[in-house]
């Protein structure tokens, strides 16, 4: 005898209890602390902060622990938490020129004021599994150098001085915020940048890669890539001046792209821009390539139909929380819709076969 | 800022706003029906209903236009303190509040854009009375026909012709509220 499936509530509770057990794993192995994740899986923490749009390494580490290392799930936890936070105000724009840089490289000049600083990078490591790490060996201390005195000027600033690169117009306009207003297309550049910096690293990477392979090619050089901490300042109306409320780590990438000229403008280089929370180098470079590709219209370039040139395509599909939710929802019951399709296919088949039989 | 400005808001905002919204939701869904709302005690000439509707729907992201004698210091202070809505001219208003004759001419208000008809203003009309008599209403939300004591007929007919563009109206008298969205067709004799 058939009994309709009941007990959804108990099934959910049991599933969650099992999940908690699986999350902990073998109790004979020491439990992972949130501080350990924050300190030792910092690049995962950075990615969760960037795509979660919330700079808080402790919360991001907690989310990674809760999500069993599933970074998109961790981003989701951070996003859902972020929504509930009151918005107390907006900071002033951060000054990346005043960044305390840990890393700063330029691919366009061999040397430049402020110098090339490799910093803590995987670049030039030989990708050989280091079995010493499995043995928890002590880490030898790294050499140090005195901190750079004064601001580190941007490479694009040098080019700008000679008019060799397009100007970046200063604006004090409040940028749009896609977390507070529905996305409206066409979007301006600020809105695009916000969408991409929150976007999925894998998606942005693939889009950027596609431009390098010719789908909306922009001939990008990394003018400069810098990673470091910047002060966050906020105007306090009661005080009449801005005070520093904290510090965030950022990765900034500025690309210098092939020149373009027109009848009114002599040839000059153009820019792509990437800015991402934390040490998120791959994402920042990819972001600047996608930004540049999306600027085809304002720069009078051809629409080659490349995916990375398609603003609506990029902006509507770069968010992994939207994507994963909709993707995974197809595992929810759909038997009502499926039933209606079943009936339709049965009826169409019956009609088709009747016609066939009549013909024979 | 006066003592009047500091008082007269919701004492339990989530619950009071929820109940007031439900009344407005029903009123807009069923044009011509009259509902009661409570919670706000705004300065004159705002009605309890107008104040409650504003507390429920307006905020710092929803600019408000005050028309006629509604544009007085006590009302300005009250809105600034409780709602934080920018006070603007008719053209930029998401909500406008005033007596009917002070809201005229309606052409000053934004009727929405052809691709975004939702961006139209909502006019909150201060009335002395609100009854189910007078103009005959038909259209979405109305089973056969409804009657409502509208201040006039022609302006609402002109408004409805613009559909899907057009203004939406919320009428208030004391603690009573009724609505007339742009989708409603209006006929018959005016009263009041």
């Amino acid at each position: 005898m058939y009994v309709a499936v009941k007990g959804g509530e108990r099934a959910i509770d049991n599933a969650h209890a099992w999940l908690a057990e699986e999350r902990r794993g073998d109790p004979g192995v020491a439990e992972l602390g949130v501080a350990q994740i924050r300190e030792q899986l910092a690049l995962a923490v950075n990615r969760v902060m960037a795509e979660g749009s919330l700079f808080d390494p402790d919360l991001a580490a907690l989310a990674i622990k809760q999500a069993r290392g599933d970074l998109i799930e961790a981003v989701f936890l951070i996003r859902a938490y972020r929504t509930t936070l009151p918005r107390l105000g907006a900071s002033n724009p951060v000054d990346t020129g005043a960044m305390a840089v840990d890393r700063r490289v330029s691919a366009t000049f061999k040397d430049l004021p402020g110098g090339q600083i490799l910093g803590p990078t995987f670049d030039y490591t030989h990708r050989l599994l280091d079995f010493k790490l499995a043995a928890e060996a002590a880490v030898p201390e790294a050499a140090t150098a005195p901190a750079l005195a004064g601001p580190v000027p941007h490479v694009t600033g040098f080019l700008n001085r000679d008019g060799l690169i397009e100007g970046a117009e200063r604006s004090d306009a409040t940028p749009p915020d896609l977390t507070r207003e529905p996305m409206e297309l066409p979007a301006d550049r600020a809105l695009r940048l916000q969408a991409i910096t929150r976007g999925d690293e894998g998606f942005v990477l693939s889009m950027a890669y596609s431009t390098q392979r010719g789908y909306g090619r922009t001939h990008a050089f990394v003018g400069e890539l810098r990673i470091g901490r910047v002060a966050v300042e906020m105007d306090i109306p009661e005080l009449g001046f801005a005070i520093e409320i904290g510090e965030v780590e950022l990765t900034e990438c500025e690309t210098v792209n092939q020149f373009k000229g027109s009848k009114t403008e002599p040839p000059q280089f153009t820019r792509g821009y990437g800015l991402v929370f934390g040490q998120s180098e791959r994402k920042a470079i990819a972001m600047s390539l996608v930004d540049r590709a999306l600027r085809w219209k304002e720069l009078g370039e051809d629409d080659t139909g490349a995916p990375a040139q398609d603003e609506e395509f990029v902006l509507m599909h770069c968010d992994n929380i939207q994507a994963t939710g909709f993707l995974e929802h197809i595992k929810l019951p759909h038997y009502v819709d499926f039933q209606s399709e079943l009936e339709l296919v049965r009826r169409l088949r019956a009609e088709a076969m009747a016609v066939q039989e009549a013909a024979e | 800022m006066t003592g009047i400005a500091l008082g007269g808001g919701f004492s339990h905002p989530p619950e009071q706003a929820a109940r007031a919204f439900r009344a407005v939701l029903e009123a807009v869904s069923r044009p011509g029906t009259i509902w009661t709302v409570e919670g706000a005690v705004p300065p004159a000439p705002l009605t309890v209903a107008a104040g409650t509707v504003l507390l429920t729907l307006a905020d710092g992201t929803a600019p408000v236009h005050l028309a006629g004698d509604a544009d007085c210091q006590p009302v300005r202070d009250w809105i600034t303190f409780h709602i934080g809505a920018p006070l603007v001219g008719a053209e930029g208003a998401m909500f406008a509040v005033g007596r009917w004759q002070d809201l005229l001419p309606l052409g000053r208000f934004h009727p929405g854009d052809p691709d975004y008809p939702d961006r139209a203003a909502t006019l909150i009309v201060l009335m002395n009375d609100l009854t189910n008599a007078g103009a005959r209403l038909t259209g979405p939300g109305i089973k056969d026909a409804a009657r409502l004591s509208l201040p006039e007929i022609a302006a609402f007919q002109r408004n409805a012709v613009q559909f899907p563009l057009g203004l939406d109206f919320i009428f208030t008298a004391g603690d009573r509220v009724a609505a007339l969205p742009r989708s409603t067709k209006v006929e018959g004799a005016a009263c009041m």
Partner: protein
Amino acid sequence: MTDQAYNFAYLDEQTKRMIRRAILKGLAVPGYQVPFASREMPMPYGWGTGGVQVTAACLTPEDVLKVIDQGADDTTNAVSIRKFFQRTAGVRVTESTGEASVIQTRHRIPEAPLREGQILVYQVPIPEPLRFLEPREAETRKMHELEEYGLMHVKLYEDIARHGEIATSYAYPVKVEGRYVMDPSPIPKFDNPKLGDCPAIQLFGAGREQRIYAVPPYTQVVSLDFDDHPFVASKAPHDCDLCGADESYLDEVIIDDAGGRMFVCSDTDFCAGRQAAGHRGRLSPAEVV
């Protein structure tokens, strides 16, 4: 009962005001999709975040809430959403369509007729009825503005040319008050006739796509069709095997691996009510024990 860490019905008041404004504009322009700044909810996009936000904006402490998914109250996602509102709004919940003042649904309209005083909130995955014909929002927005629905008619007509009938069985497009073409959410087309002239308020929430739209009570809603191929609200040609109903939408259940199957009402409250009233189907036990 309510979780004190969060505001009544979870959303903060400013977010609720923004959603409430969108709902009212949706009612003023029936069938038109109002953009709204959908928030990130503590459940995934695609799992009812739009419906949940609309419900949260409408609920009062006095409401009685019913949540269904595929017509059933006990499907896991319906259970999860119902629990969410019990926890964050402390509202009473019910499985009875008649008792509920707010009903959130995914993919069905209840069999029992709705009444005035009720709100039916639909979870919507893709609110744009033209989306699968034209993927670009900028284009579909213009098509709605200019009432250019020819593409939709061409698609439906191609179906007829190919299959002899319109091969859309759910999310069947409708025209509201002779103006906007609207996606009724993925309800089976069997439910389409219930959309029009309905005493209850019908609200549609699409969270990921950031759209809210509405059908006021007693509003004309017409399923698109052609004079020579009129719309037909179809269902499986069977009676319910548990309650014997011959006019309800049915789920097909496979009961063995030898081709055995049965058909049962998708609306569990409707079916249970009929069984309690003594109605029997082909596979009902002789007596209720």
